[in-house]
């Protein structure tokens, strides 16, 4: 069903607030925002599913630009059209604009401050655990056959141990999907077959 323009702007505004929060609490960039995205966009607002979030991450990995921002643009566009794309993107960017400008103006040695270093070390340890918890949930919801499980494990090994380019992994995944997952019926009805 098509949303009216007023409904879209209302939803877009809600997305601005959510993505502002995501931008404000993402330390270390990129994938560190996954746990937050999952909470806000899947659990709280149902703007997307875990499966679609993975699709968007894979796309964001091989399109230019910053993954966190691309994800915001994509979800915004999908849920609330152009207003959603604009406001979700501005939302994820706004905290950086404010915080970085303040630091650049007042506290150039911010990163060297001792409490900042300690706080970051703590945050890093927690974020690592949160990322692993998210990966576990995603794996449970979308790895349901031996080939998928093997693909995920091999992708992990190649990137983590051998430093393979993530873009190469995404293209390999797409190719394997095209070759081997075409004949399947388990992901719902395919009426065009």
């Amino acid at each position: 069903m098509q949303k009216t323009l007023a409904e879209r702007w209302k939803l877009a505004l809600k997305m601005y607030v959510s993505f502002f929060q995501i931008g404000l609490f993402t330390f270390g960039g990129g994938y560190a925002m996954l746990p937050m995205l999952e909470k806000e966009c899947v659990d709280k607002h149902a703007w997307t599913t875990r499966e679609e979030l993975l699709d968007i991450f894979a796309l964001a990995q091989c399109t230019p630009g910053i993954i966190a921002v691309n994800t915001a643009t994509f979800l915004g566009k999908k849920q609330a059209g152009l207003p959603g794309a604009v406001l979700a993107t501005l939302g994820v960017v706004s905290p950086s604009l404010v915080i970085i400008s303040l630091i650049a103006a007042l506290l150039k040695n911010f990163a060297d401050l001792e409490p900042v270093q300690h706080a970051l070390a703590g945050v890093r340890a927690a974020v690592t655990a949160l990322i692993f918890a998210s990966v576990w949930k995603m794996a449970k919801s979308s790895l349901k056959d031996p080939l998928s499980i093997a693909m995920a494990v091999i992708a992990f090994i190649l990137v983590a141990l051998f430093g393979t380019s993530p873009v190469a992994i995404v293209f390999a995944g797409a190719l394997i999907g095209f070759l081997f997952f075409g004949g399947r019926k388990k992901t719902g009805k395919e009426d065009d077959a």
């Binding site: 929060q21 931008g23 404000l24 609490f25 993402t26 270390g28 990129g30 993975l54 699709d55 991450f57 894979a58 796309l59 964001a60 399109t63 630009g65 910053i66 993954i67 691309n70 643009t73 994509f74 566009k77 152009l82 993107t89 604009l97 970085i100 400008s101 630091i103 650049a104 911010f110 990163a111 900042v116 300690h118 706080a119 070390a121 703590g122 890093r124 340890a125 927690a126 974020v127 655990a129 990322i131 692993f132 990966v135 790895l143 693909m151 995920a152 992990f156 990137v159 141990l161 993530p166 873009v167 995404v170 995944g173 797409a174 999907g177 095209f178 081997f180 997952f181 399947r184 395919e190």
Partner: protein, 195 residues
């Protein structure tokens, strides 16, 4: 051409060509400094990276904002950031429209069925690299076979906190706690226990 316009063009180019996010913007910013030594120095860049990594927000955005503010104050910060985001914004908006149209297509479905396991592997690998940095603060290599920085002490405190959060996220009562709560608590723990 005015410097501000040239700066915006440079960031637009970076947004268009930097694939993979995060520190993918760094080589472009280094290039800018080489081409325009009067804009900012290598030492400025090192400081920008440190600030970008220790503040919330996507690192690429933080870098753009910092450079823009450094050169033209608030208007500079806003314009460089918008310039960086604009190319991917346009591409993603078009792509999202196309995907909406063909999401029921059999081939598209098959391709995405292959992308998901790949994406899970990638995210797990990203988690693993954060894990190495968090638990071995001296670690600086890019893969586990590159152990040059491992001489620095392994952080026991970080391991304990990591394990606690790991367990907490699996407990029925704490499972639904917002990630923001964990991050805020971890920051306080880090300061109090001097991580």
């Amino acid at each position: 051409m005015s410097t501000l316009l040239l700066l915006c063009l440079n960031f637009f180019k970076t947004g268009l060509l930097a694939v993979g996010g995060g520190l993918a913007t760094l080589p472009f910013i280094t290039d800018m400094s080489n081409a325009h030594p009067d804009w900012f120095t290598k030492a400025d860049i090192a400081n920008m990276v440190a600030v970008s990594e220790s503040t919330p927000g996507p690192i690429g955005i933080n870098m753009a904002t910092y450079v823009g503010y450094h050169m033209f104050s608030i208007p500079g910060a806003i314009l460089t950031t918008v310039s960086l985001v604009l190319p991917s914004f346009i591409i993603i908006v078009i792509l999202a429209g196309i995907m909406d149209k063909y999401s029921e297509n059999r081939i598209v479905k098959a391709v995405f069925a292959g992308l998901r396991p790949a994406a899970i592997g990638l995210i797990a690998a990203a988690g693993f690299s954060v894990f190495l940095i968090a638990l071995f603060p001296g670690y600086s290599g890019s893969t586990v076979f590159d152990m040059s920085g491992i001489t620095a002490l392994f952080s026991r405190k970080s391991l304990v906190l990591f394990a606690l959060v790991m367990v907490a996220t699996q407990l029925p009562k704490l499972k639904d706690l917002h990630p923001v709560a964990y991050i805020a608590i971890a920051a306080v723990v880090g300061i109090v226990f001097r991580f």
